[in-house]
């Protein structure tokens, strides 16, 4: 994450044709405008134009240009989540995700590109309004059929491509058609130009319509296509005849292209509309096969749809343009297949996830690369999992929905997802669950407890975990062990080590009998944590070492890192800092591999703190800086506070008591703001030493200064090893008077006398309109917005107009 490129824009799939003036104007708008929405009908090229605009704005946005694709989202609350996901922001316990996102973006010069807002336009408007208000440097470029209708928005209507006129045939629409026809393998000579011109006019310069038509030029001449498109207008079967002309044109083109498909291609295209995100061949085969299509035929059918530009393909992943997908959904509905297909989609997702879950977590002796493959596959399927869960909730198939929830590690905290699993489980449990077995309900409660613990709802989590243990069937060994481990964590957090011990032992015993290495490692790590709490360091060490052995046997990097971290904590407790650091450092690459950024931030902070105590200051600084950056990127104030404490330790060991007090104070203030307590003992000791060395007054002054500091400034103080510079106001734009022409100087001078345009015109013997022109040019050059500003500037800068300048 810290070293990733500062944008996530996809590479151009083919040449971008035309719209040069528009690109220039749109990019220029962002100098003055916070929110620009590209509006227009589907297929007019909003997304492509937005991507092209954004690609030209990366240099102006050093903190990144981030594309957030909303088309696949079906519910408004997912807008916040998707933005957070793209930015790498993780939810904080007890804080609305949007607040965390806004906190992360507050001083970031970045551009958010929200693509396809129309179906979630209300939520998009709220989110954009909130971000624009809270984050002054942030810009938003949105694409939507409907405007967001917020105060800061500039609505920019995307027109079709330029049409050829009688004089010039070199219009944008013609260029696009010829370019895409050539890509389809058709060379069109000058003799076909009149027909191409006719076709471009018939298609009203709509890019998507032109692309669909160009994809057919291998079999049909432009003249034939133009004739058939004309016929289409009288045959439109979907949509109203009252729809706007462009929408009807586009629909005609899509219908025409669809009707030319072979029957099986038509069926497949409509079925592909069930996917929420992009998909691969395997998923398409599993979900979309069925009479009249055999699974083996799908690869060729998909290829045919790609050739006809109805399906896009990028390195073995396929997707549908939103406009095509909407059309295909309509066809699926007409065919009466929608419910069956969505059910099949849910079935397949469930089946796949359960397989991935077993491979990632449960099956013994699976090599790590295969476990990681399963985890990665789960994460890739997340948009489809959400769509499937929506269907489960809508159709009342609670059983399958809950099965999918239980198996989707991507929805759990291990995937960096705090609230989502809780939301889904609660939504499904609120439906009719009478058809479920007691075991299924109990397993679901176990998952709920897991999510609740991460959200710090300890009381409810404990209750759910208890009910889960009571209800799980005797054969449900893996979930039972997981609940025992969760109990250990919960009870230790509540200060009940004796009860925790019982659960650690029970869980371990079951895991030993069933040969479940994941839970053996978790159980032993739990025993080690209990022993550590009770101060039995040798016992804690023994259990920790054994836990790491079992974790290595299992191979999952997450559990390995967790047990290594436990051993590090034990070493730290006995004062063996060298070993502690080695253990934490062992966990670091493992956490990078699973992409557990929250755990990674914690691990780096620990390494940094221990390194500082070992007087390895350079290493300490590097790790703490990395951890701090991660905490900022992911929006975790808790992580930021943890780093500040580490930096305070570093400063003190380096002999910088001032820095130590400042950062400790900043950490304390930040923790209070999120309702957390600080470790008061260390603070008291630090302040005691500071008072002795620096005096009471100085120390108190530093403490209150540190509390008022922004975390970034406090961190920089120690990280850069010097006092953070005060935030210097950006110097006013310096204006070189020579920018103005002699005439403009003259007019600026006359403005200081308060003359009107008419009076200036009379004085200079020119027309008032010309005076207004000159004044407009002066304002543009000086960046002013009123005549009065020019007058003030001129009276300050103006002695005599330089004679030779022009």
């Amino acid at each position: 994450m810290p070293d990733s490129p500062r944008h996530n824009l996809p590479a151009d799939p083919n040449r971008f044709v035309g719209r040069e003036r528009d690109l220039h104007d749109l990019r220029g708008l962002f100098a003055e405008t916070r929110v620009v929405t590209l509006c227009g009908v589907g297929g007019i090229g909003k997304t492509r134009l937005a991507l092209q605009v954004a690609a030209g704005l990366t240099a102006a946005h050093p903190d990144g240009v981030w594309l957030v694709e909303l088309a696949g989202l079906r519910r408004p609350e997912l807008v916040d989540q998707e933005i957070a996901r793209v930015l790498g922001v993780r939810e904080e316990s007890g804080r609305p995700l949007l607040d965390t996102v806004a906190g992360r973006l507050r001083d970031q010069r970045c551009l958010l590109l929200l693509d396809n807002c129309e179906h979630l336009v209300d939520r998009c408007a709220e989110v954009v309004e909130a971000l624009v208000a809270a984050c002054p440097p942030v810009r938003v470029l949105a694409t939507s059929r409907e405007p967001l209708r917020i105060a800061s928005e500039l609505i920019w209507r995307v027109p079709p491509l330029d049409l050829p006129d009688k004089v010039t045939a070199d219009a944008e629409s013609v260029q696009l058609f010829l370019d895409r026809a050539a890509a389809a393998g058709t060379r069109l000579g000058p003799e076909s130009l009149p027909d191409v011109v006719r076709l471009c006019r018939a298609l009203d310069g709509l890019p998507l319509a032109l692309e669909l038509a160009a994809a057919r030029t291998r079999l049909l001449s432009p003249g034939q296509i133009a004739d058939r498109i004309d016929d289409r207008f009288s045959l439109l079967t979907t949509g109203g005849r009252t729809a706007p002309a462009r929408q009807r044109t586009l629909l005609a083109a899509v219908e025409w292209s669809y009707d030319l498909l072979a029957d099986k291609e038509q069926v497949l295209l409509s079925r592909l509309s069930v996917f929420a995100g992009d998909f691969d061949l395997d998923l398409a085969e599993r979900v979309c096969a069925g009479p009249p299509i055999a699974a083996g035929e799908i690869v060729d059918l998909l290829g045919g749809l790609v050739d006809k530009s109805l399906v896009l393909c990028d390195e073995s992943r396929y997707r549908l343009l939103e406009t095509i997908r909407c059309f295909a959904v309509g066809r699926l509905r007409q065919a009466g297949e929608q419910e069956a297909l969505r059910q099949r989609h849910l079935d397949v997702l469930c089946e796949l996830q359960e397989r991935y879950f077993l491979a990632e977590m449960v099956e013994p002796r699976v090599p790590w690369p295969r476990r990681l493959e399963a985890l990665t596959a789960t994460r890739t399927l997340l948009p489809d999992q959400r769509a499937a869960l929506d269907w489960a909730a809508a159709s009342g198939d609670v059983g399958l929905g809950l099965r999918l929830c239980r198996a989707s590690t991507g929805l759990y905290p291990i995937g960096g997802n705090l609230a989502e699993i809780v939301g889904w489980l609660e939504r499904l449990l609120a439906l009719d669950v009478s058809g479920l077995t007691e075991d299924e309900i109990a397993y679901t409660k176990a998952c709920l407890a897991y999510g609740l613990e991460t959200r710090d709802e300890l009381g409810r989590a404990l209750e759910m975990a208890r009910e889960a243990l009571a209800g799980l069937a005797p054969g449900s060994l893996f979930p039972r062990c997981v609940v025992h481990s969760l109990m250990v964590v919960l009870l230790l957090r509540m200060g009940r080590a004796d009860d925790a011990l019982r659960h650690a032992e029970q869980g371990l015993a079951i895991a030993e009998r069933s040969g479940d290495t994941w839970n053996q490692a978790a159980g032993l790590a739990g025993l080690s944590a209990v022993a550590l709490t009770r101060g039995r360091l040798r016992e804690a060490q023994r259990h920790g070492e054994e836990a790491l052995v079992r974790a290595r046997e299992h191979g999952h990097r997450w559990i390995m890192a967790r047990t290594a971290g436990q051993l590090g904590a034990v070493a730290e407790a006995r004062g063996d800092l060298v070993t502690a650091k080695a253990q934490y450092e062992m966990a670091e690459p493992w956490l990078r591999e699973v992409g557990g950024y929250l755990d990674l931030a914690r691990c780096l902070a620990r390494i940094g703190r221990v390194a500082a105590m070992l007087h390895e200051f350079a290493a300490a600084r590097e790790r703490l800086a990395a951890s701090f950056a991660l905490g900022r990127e992911t929006g975790q104030r808790q992580g930021v506070a943890r780093c500040l404490v580490g930096l305070s330790v570093l400063a003190e060991y380096e002999g910088d008591l001032e820095g130590a007090v400042l950062t400790a104070a900043a950490a304390a203030a930040l923790r209070e703001s999120i309702g957390q307590h600080s470790a008061t003992i260390r603070i008291e000791e630090l302040l005691g030493r500071a008072r002795t060395k620096l005096g009471d007054g100085r120390t108190a002054g530093l403490w209150s200064r540190g509390r008022a500091m922004r975390p970034d400034d406090a961190a920089r103080h120690v990280l850069e090893g010097r006092r953070a510079p005060a935030r210097v106001p950006v110097p006013a734009r310096s204006v070189r008077p020579s920018l103005l022409t002699a005439r403009e100087h003259e007019i600026a001078g006359l403005l200081t006398r308060g003359l009107s345009n008419r009076a200036i015109a009379e004085e200079l013997v020119i027309s008032p309109a010309t005076v207004a022109r000159h004044i407009a040019n002066i304002m543009e050059k000086l960046g002013y917005t009123s005549r009065a500003q020019i007058a003030v500037w001129a009276s300050e800068h103006h002695q005599a107009p330089p004679r030779a300048s022009a």
Partner: protein
């Protein structure tokens, strides 16, 4: 400076002074330029007769644009035809049928009277 009146709005009786006209049209020019109006660009102006129309005219000229004026009381069908037939990139109008017609035209940005006079919200 003596206060010269350049126009009295027949409907409201509000007067537009020369100073106001100069200042408002200067501000409006900046807004037009920000929205991409350049030398030689056609700008559709469809406003009822009155001070706003005058400000818009002066501003478009000062920005280097070419005024394409549409009477605000034209019937919706004719307005639609004229707006869709033009190749203007910017339109200044608060007249609903004209604004609606922009949807199927080549107009990129529609500016209301408020957009002319007020600086854009959340300025940089």
């Amino acid at each position: 400076m003596d206060e010269r009146i350049v126009m009295v709005d027949s409907g409201t009786g509000l007067r537009l002074t020369e100073e106001q006209l100069d200042e408002m049209s200067a501000m409006a020019t900046v807004q037009l330029r920000r929205r991409g109006v350049r030398e030689g660009d056609g700008v559709l102006v469809c406003l009822p007769a009155g001070p706003d129309l005058l400000v818009a005219f002066v501003a478009v000229m000062a920005a280097g644009g070419v005024i394409w004026s549409l009477p605000a009381d034209l019937d919706a069908g004719t307005l639609r035809e004229l707006v869709r037939g033009s190749c203007a990139r910017v339109m200044i109008s608060n007249v609903p049928p004209a604004v609606d017609a922009a949807d199927e035209s080549r107009v990129r940005v529609v500016m209301g009277v408020d957009d002319l006079c007020a600086p854009h919200p959340h300025p940089v």
